[in-house]
């Protein structure tokens, strides 16, 4: 999201025209999630830092960090191998003077699960990422759980968009991680890998806070990081993302006495003043699929607790 590239950033006095190439298989860099993330990164004071982005997408953040945040070095990788190639092209065109400070880790890299990624991570000060936080609607075990709660999948939710893996993760594959129960298994897997391979690195992650920020803070604490919110914004819920995931979590607590302890956080208004649960949000969508819904997106920094 390059609206944050202000005209004064150009030494020639000309406004930058910094629109990254964004094919349909890449997460849309004009999405408000990316804008939120970049404002959080800006607030993090990353000047002189060596940064690694897990799930680099179009490379919009990499260019932003080099061009506007004065990062010393930016590296990164993505599960979709086309994206790191795209990111390199975008950094080359958007931050041409800084291309030597960009170290792409090529190929299909899940989290940091290759030797090259781990070697780079070991020399990194700050790891950043905005990884999927909703289980894949097609996941077999998740489907069985959804059916057990008598929750229906939204129409079309089982069709895969070109950027499907930017939004959903294979839920069962990450079920050894406790926070997978609320859709944070992929993110927890990253935190655990960082504790092992980069114990001194800070982490800055972008979250859709539909499960509430409290539980996201608990995720950081359980994995040895002290969390701190850097920035947050209320954004419109993407009309294409299936919210039945959140509905089934709420419904599964019916009759347990814990219903009030876990209520998802959607809002009826863009100011975030009228909170509603996922069940209430789903009801509104069922009545009118065009109903605008909102939720918080927050950039959270985790500092290794041992440091």
């Amino acid at each position: 999201m390059f609206s944050v590239f202000e005209p004064e950033a150009s030494s020639s006095g000309e406004p930058y025209v910094l629109t990254p190439e964004a094919p349909s298989f890449a997460f849309d860099p004009t999405d408000p999630w990316t804008e939120t993330f970049q404002r959080g990164l800006e607030a993090a004071n990353l000047s002189g830092k060596r940064i690694y982005e897990v799930g680099i997408g179009t490379g919009t953040n990499a260019a932003f960090l080099l061009q506007l945040c004065d990062a010393a070095l930016v590296s990164g990788s993505d599960l979709d191998p086309r994206l790191i190639e795209l990111a390199e092209r975008n950094v080359r065109s958007l931050a041409p003077d800084k291309i030597d400070q960009f170290h792409p880790i090529k190929g299909a890299v899940s989290l940091i699960d290759t030797d090259a990624a781990r070697a780079q991570i070991a020399q990194t000060d700050v790891v950043i990422g905005c990884l999927p936080q909703v289980g894949d609607p097609g996941d077999k075990r998740l489907s069985a759980f959804r059916e057990a709660q008598a929750v229906e999948l939204a129409d079309g939710a089982d069709e895969q968009a070109d950027d499907h893996i930017a939004h959903y993760y294979p839920w069962e594959a990450f079920d050894s991680y406790p926070f997978n129960s609320v859709g944070l298994g992929l993110n927890e897997a990253l935190l655990q890998r960082l504790r092992e391979h980069a114990p001194k690195a800070e982490v800055i992650m972008n979250f859709g806070c539909r499960v509430g920020t409290g539980i996201i803070f608990e995720l950081f604490e359980a994995n040895g990081f002290r969390p701190e919110k850097l920035h947050s914004q209320i954004v419109r819920q993407d009309a294409g993302t299936d919210i039945s995931f959140f509905v089934m979590l709420e419904k599964a607590l019916t009759g347990t006495g814990l219903e009030k302890d876990f209520v998802c956080k959607f809002f009826k208004d863009a100011e975030g003043k009228q909170p509603i649960s996922a069940c209430e949000a789903q009801k509104l969508i069922d009545e009118d699929p065009e109903t605008p819904l909102f939720h918080e997106v927050a950039v959270i920094r985790g500092i290794p607790a041992a440091s």
Binding site: F179, S181, L249, A252, T256, L258, F262
Partner: protein, 68 residues
């Protein structure tokens, strides 16, 4: 810590509500007469109130308090 074996579910760091979700997810599709699942609870979780929240499902698990 990962799930140490197929019969143990780790709930480290989870408060009661996500713990119950995790248990219900783990029991979905599991045979009712299967050997009870071991649930490693976060030290802050109270075993007896969790058992109350689980109702009948409590028979299908063994709640193990993780040492603080």
């Amino acid at each position: 810590m990962k799930r140490s074996n197929a019969n143990t579910i780790d709930c480290n760091g989870l408060s009661p509500a996500p713990t119950v979700l995790r248990i219900k997810q783990a029991l979905t599709g599991r045979a009712r007469d299967a050997h009870p699942l071991d649930i490693l609870l976060d030290p802050a979780c109270d075993t007896s109130s969790l058992a109350r929240s689980l109702g009948k499902l409590a028979d299908r698990v063994r709640l193990v308090a993780r040492p603080a």
